[in-house]
Symmetry: C2
Subunit: 257 residues, 2 copies
């Protein structure tokens, strides 16, 4: 298994998760940079690294330099970095690889997951990787497989589209859960009643595709139930959403047949 | 544990799942009725019951008679049934308990799950129960707990609202997965890349409520990313849905603050 000497710029959620996971997998984290030295130290201590708060102190001896800062801070960091022969990557879903063009070896190392502070980075988090040269891609692939079972090669455009798809599949799904929560709460019903169904719905698309998994009144074009449901909704906003999404499901089914 | 003598009217998905689960839990299924005798036989054979295709043959000796037919067939079945002292229940989410008023002991025994033929009824499927008398409710509760860990008492109105909530949390979430599938497919990206995120999103609301679990551009009111995403969507329908749901999330967050 590949063991690299890695420098890390950033100490936020993604940076922390990555550093700890890479450290535990036997890689050496040499330096952790953060503008805030106490943040840098907190993370550096956990992964046996040197903490720095000045990019001038960067030793440029890493085989892999990971830039994991907020999207709008990447350019500022890049402007302060010197050229290096090591492989330089960022971890941002919606930033193109080209932003790293000044480095002869560069790529993207994007963990496709929503991170919350306390959750451990699982082995099933997909890594979307891209690099400017075949040998860099091959190295990134090895690093990714050292901490995850799921590695996908994709270009910057595809990475952007994956992010967009995730907004639908995750953020918007969660909003549907939220509306369910509101309806249940208004009627003094525990949210617990719907949890198994939410799980089942997510589980289903692990083995069959969503277009085949669809059930419910709209997928049967059952206008009686649809109209009953619309009449039951007293929130105008939810009502509009109900007809809009139902129409979209009917349209999807109609298109298919 | 309670062991009942049960009569079953119906041989569809819900009826089959219930019969097998009840049989395995030690209840005695005495008769299975279906208009189609070969369907009745298929199920009856599996649960050691008598198959009948004529309601006149019903022996009315069951302690519990379960009517598990399509919503619009319930009334026809009821019109042909004689009065009985046994507890008579239906398994329909959106039909009121009152439809069973002619029986002195009646109730509802509604498994809150989408059933597909091959899937086994899990112990975590919630049962929503209701009855016209305390002792009937108590009996139904025992039967429900004999095949599931999750039992909820609710009235007909609440059951209807739960069904409505499930359309949002399940059917509409699945439609969001479908749109993600379309975006990924158009860009030659495997749907596998998004599966861990879908799982994570569902898992999150097992422990925190959806309103707290929300992340993404709309929940941060990040209009730059929202506009970028809208520009990336070439399907007018998805574009409309994106702005509509985003606005709904922004509105939800705004209302809270």
């Amino acid at each position: 298994m590949v063991k690299l000497k890695i420098g890390l710029i950033g100490s936020g959620n993604v940076a922390s998760h990555l550093a700890e996971k890479l450290f535990k997998s036997g890689h050496c984290i040499s330096q952790v940079y953060s503008r805030n030295i106490s943040n840098a130290k907190k993370l550096a201590d956990r992964v046996n690294a040197e903490a720095i708060d000045d990019l001038q102190q960067l030793n440029y001896q890493s085989e892999l330099l990971i830039i994991s800062v907020k999207d709008d801070a990447i350019q500022t960091v890049l402007d302060r970095l010197e050229k290096t022969e090591g492989l330089v990557v960022h971890t941002a879903g919606s930033i193109s690889m080209q932003i790293l063009n000044k480095f002869s070896n560069h790529g993207v190392f994007y963990p496709f997951q929503t991170f919350t502070k306390d959750v451990v980075l699982k082995n099933t988090v997909p890594f979307c990787i891209e690099a400017n040269r075949e040998e860099n891609l091959s190295l990134l692939k090895k690093v990714a497989y050292s901490i995850s079972e799921l590695v996908f090669e994709m270009n910057s455009e595809q990475r952007k589209k994956s992010h967009l798809a995730a907004v639908f599949a995750c953020n918007f799904s969660n909003h549907m859960y939220y509306i369910a929560q509101q309806i249940l709460c208004e009627n003094h019903i525990s949210f617990d009643v719907i949890k198994p169904l939410i799980n089942e719905t997510a589980n289903k698309v692990m083995s069959i595709m969503p277009d085949e998994a669809q059930t419910g009144p709209a997928s049967r074009n059952d206008q009686t139930i649809i109209n009953n449901h619309l009449a039951e909704l007293n929130n105008e906003h939810f009502k509009k959403l109900y007809s809009f999404v139902s129409a979209s499901i009917v349209e999807q089914k109609f298109k298919k047949e």
